[in-house]
Each structure stands twice: as structure tokens, then as C-alpha cells.
């Protein structure tokens, strides 16, 4: 048997919080989410901030589900099932080429997205390398500037 839970007097704590709020005069702002939410248009595909991981997740999701199965499950048994399975057989000649075409399109789209993902990754990698080079150069410039200043000071004091 597990040990009993510790008693926490939530109501008492809430009462103290309410008293503190009243005492210190804390108030709620007038900004209401309901007024802002009303602005949102109910459409799909709104532009969002770029996230490489979100892109990868969506591409993996699409890749994982790109192949459509035309063959739908119909459990065996009964007249209804027999008719449904017969219809499925009759429609094969039409459904298979349609689904194949769609699958081919889906496949190409996934390849296309993978290419774009790869391009972005490659680009990001190059940018990171450039950033590191810039960091190193900036550090070098910083130390060289310091050395120059020190040398200028030395020269100045010798001339004096």
C-alpha cells in the first residue's frame, strides 16, 4: 500500500492570496484575449517563423505517409461484405491507376521537399561556418587593435 498524501490546505492558501491581492491593490489589465482572437482569419497555411526542426518533422511526416493504399479493409462475412468486396474488385481498374498517379506525385513532392530541406541545411551549415570565421576574424582584429594601441603608446612615449 502506498503512503498517504500530505494534506495541503489549498483553500486556506487561496484565501491568503486573495487577501494579499486586495491589500496590495493588484488589478487585472483590460487587455482581453477574446478581442484579439477575433482578428484571426480561419485559413490554413499562415506564414510562421522558420523552424528547421518543424520543417524536418513535417517532411518526415509527409515521407512516412506519402503512399496511399487504394485497398480498403472490408471484414469478411455476410452479404453486405460480399457486395462491398465485389465493388472493390470491380473498381480496381479505375482506382489503381488513379492512386498510382497520386502516389507518384506524392513521391516527387517528398523528394522535392527533401531537396529543399537539404539545401537549407547546407546553407545553414555554410552560414555557421562563415559566422565562426567572422568570430575568429573579429577576435583577431580586437587583439591586433589592442596591440596597435599599445605599440602607438610605446612609440608615443619614446618620441616624448
Amino acid at each position: 500500500m502506498s503512503e498517504p498524501m500530505k494534506k495541503i490546505n489549498v483553500e486556506e492558501i487561496m484565501k491568503e492570496i486573495r487577501e494579499e491581492i486586495a491589500q496590495k491593490g493588484y488589478t487585472e489589465d483590460s487587455v482581453d484575449y477574446a478581442n484579439i482572437a477575433g482578428d484571426a482569419k480561419a485559413i490554413l497555411g499562415v506564414k510562421t517563423d522558420f523552424s528547421a526542426y518543424e520543417l524536418g518533422h513535417a517532411v518526415n511526416g509527409a515521407a512516412g505517409q506519402h503512399k496511399i493504399e487504394y485497398y480498403r479493409m472490408i471484414p469478411k462475412g455476410g452479404l453486405k461484405s460480399f457486395i462491398e468486396r465485389s465493388i472493390r474488385k470491380i473498381l480496381r481498374f479505375m482506382l489503381i491507376p488513379m492512386v498510382d498517379q497520386q502516389n507518384q506525385f506524392n513521391y516527387q513532392m517528398v523528394v522535392c521537399m527533401r531537396q529543399m530541406e537539404g539545401f537549407i541545411e547546407e546553407h545553414n551549415h555554410q552560414m555557421e561556418q562563415k559566422d565562426r570565421q567572422i568570430d575568429a576574424l573579429e577576435e583577431k582584429i580586437f587583439y591586433l587593435t589592442k596591440r596597435c594601441e599599445a605599440l602607438e603608446k610605446q612609440c608615443g612615449s619614446k618620441e616624448a
Binding site: M5, I8, Y26, V31, Y33, A40, A42, L44, V46, G61
Partner: protein, 358 residues
Amino acid sequence: MKVIQLLPTLAFGDAVGNDTLALMQVIEEMGYETGIYAETIDERIKNKNVKLAYKVPYMAPEDILIYHMSIGSQLTYEIENFNCRKIMIYHNVTPPEFLAPYNPFTAGACEEGLKQVKYLSDKFDYCLADSEFNRQDLIRMGYTCPIDVLPILIPFDDYKKMPSKRMLRRFDDDFVNILFTGRIAPNKKQEDVIKCFYYYKKYFNPKSRLILAGSYYGMENYYHSLKAFIERLGAEDVYFTGQIKFNEILACYTAADVFLCMSEHEGFCVPLAEAMAFQIPIVAYDSSAIGWTLGGSGILLKDKNPLVAAGMIHQVMTRPGLKEDIVSNENIRLGDFSHDVIRDQFVQYLNGFTGERK
């Protein structure tokens, strides 16, 4: 005897998918012939017993079909044609009214899903619900078969992996980190989480930040509304992570000081159990399955006053012993969700159903 599981989509890494795969292992251990059948299977799931729905074998009257219900699908209408014993595992369907203003397509799928749950009310011999809330939901929709509660099997061992150091560096400082994890979705009421955090930062602790970890995929309109709300409030230090890697989620939990949940519809709420596993005190609004999942642990708020919720976060962080007491209670509740406990419960329920009660 065969015990197979059927569901519309077997997705990679989501709660229903994980639950289905974990249950298959248990069924296998029980010595039954088993398999998972789905209309759509993520290609990242490699398992010889996971097959497309049309490959469902012949089911004899003594065999058992377990159907996972969480969204609308045409598959639902095929259930009655199976001449075997049937069990439904009900994960709940998000009420469409939450989603309609932001994504009519998903709202439509949920509306259809709810219709199908009602349609299935007399098609099953037995139901398992993720929570007491889900059980009541089924009863309300006219289910008269026996219904038991079986929480989702959560792979807690995965949470012992190394958290992302990059993410930890970002959040692990002297700020109080308030965390909410889960999809950015209107039923989860992230706007209320933001409001509570705003008052906490304004009145109680300026050195604090809010981390909203979760994908906004498909809910871009809602995400933009939240961003506009933050701007209008003038709230600072609110971070949306978007969809992140698993080790980054682990880092968010590791860095978190308080888990704040204002959701208004949850069938179970896995993030609450995750927060418990990371010893994070939970402050949550009492709605849907949340009270049941907390099971007397955490701090359950009966109303949604954001000032009071902010004050409660302050109390949790400053009141001597309170945080420790909450975490201690959460550890007790977490025991109810351990893999062994849930597995034993499932075995007991299945044996009870098949008449082999041990």
C-alpha cells in the same frame, strides 16, 4: 486466439501510437497472437506485426479486436462487420468548438469523430477509457457495455535520457521557469497560461520566464493570436519552442520550476505525468480529466482567476515546505502510472473480459 489492435493512423512518437505499441508487447507476453493494423502507418515504425488495415486476418468469434478511438475515420463504420469480440480504448476527441475558429478542417474531423463515438455506442462488448473523465464521456454518449479505466502506458524510461545541453544553457539560470508542454491548441488555453504568467512577472517575480513547448503545426492562426496577445499585454520572456526534439523537451522539464496547466479539455494529459516524473510542482485548473490525473496531488485551482493563479505560483516558490509537499504527493500519484501497474491492470482487464480471470 488472436487479440489485434486497429486504429486509423499509427503515428510516430505520439501518445496513442506509443500506447498501442506498448499494449502489443503486453498482449504478446500474454501469449496471444497479435498485431497492429492501421490505415496509415508512419514509415519510421518498423515492426513485423504492424500492418495495413486491409491485411486484418479473419477474426473468429472468440478472437478480440481492440479499436483505438481518438479521431474520426471511415474505419469506424467497418467495426460492426467484424464477427468477433470487440473492445474500444477511448482516448477522447477534442470538442470541435475549440478548434473551429482556427482550423475548420481539424474541427470537422473532430466533429465527425464525436459523431462516430456516438454511432459506436452499441457496437462494443467492453471499453477501456484513459481516465474517469473519458469513462463518463462514454456513458454520457449512451454506452451501456462495461467500461473500465486504464491510463495511457507512458514510456518513463525514455525520460532518463540526456537532456539537450544547448536548451539547458538557454533556460538554466536564476530565473523562475514556468512551463507548459503540449501542442499549441485552443483547448489547451495557452492564452490563460500567458495571462497568469504576465501577472506573476508583473506583481510577484520579474525574474521569471514562461516556456510554451509544443508544435503549432495546423494551429498557426491560434499561435499568431497568442503572439498578438503577448504583444498587446506587453509580456516579456515568453518563449514558444515550436516542435522540438525529445532531448530538448527533456531540457525544458529539467529547467522548469513550476508546471502551469490551464487547459479546458484533456482526455488524460500526459504532460502532467511527465511533470510528476521530473519532480516539478504542478498548478492546474480543474477541468476535464485533469483532476483525475492529478489524483489529489499538485495544486488544483477551482476557478481561473489569473491573479490568484499567479499568487499560487508565488506561494509554491516561496512558502516553506509547500513545493516539497506537492512533489511528494505527485511521486505517490506517479506510482499509479508506472509501466508495471498499468500492464498488470491491462492483463487483469483482458483476462476478465476473456473469462480467464486469474
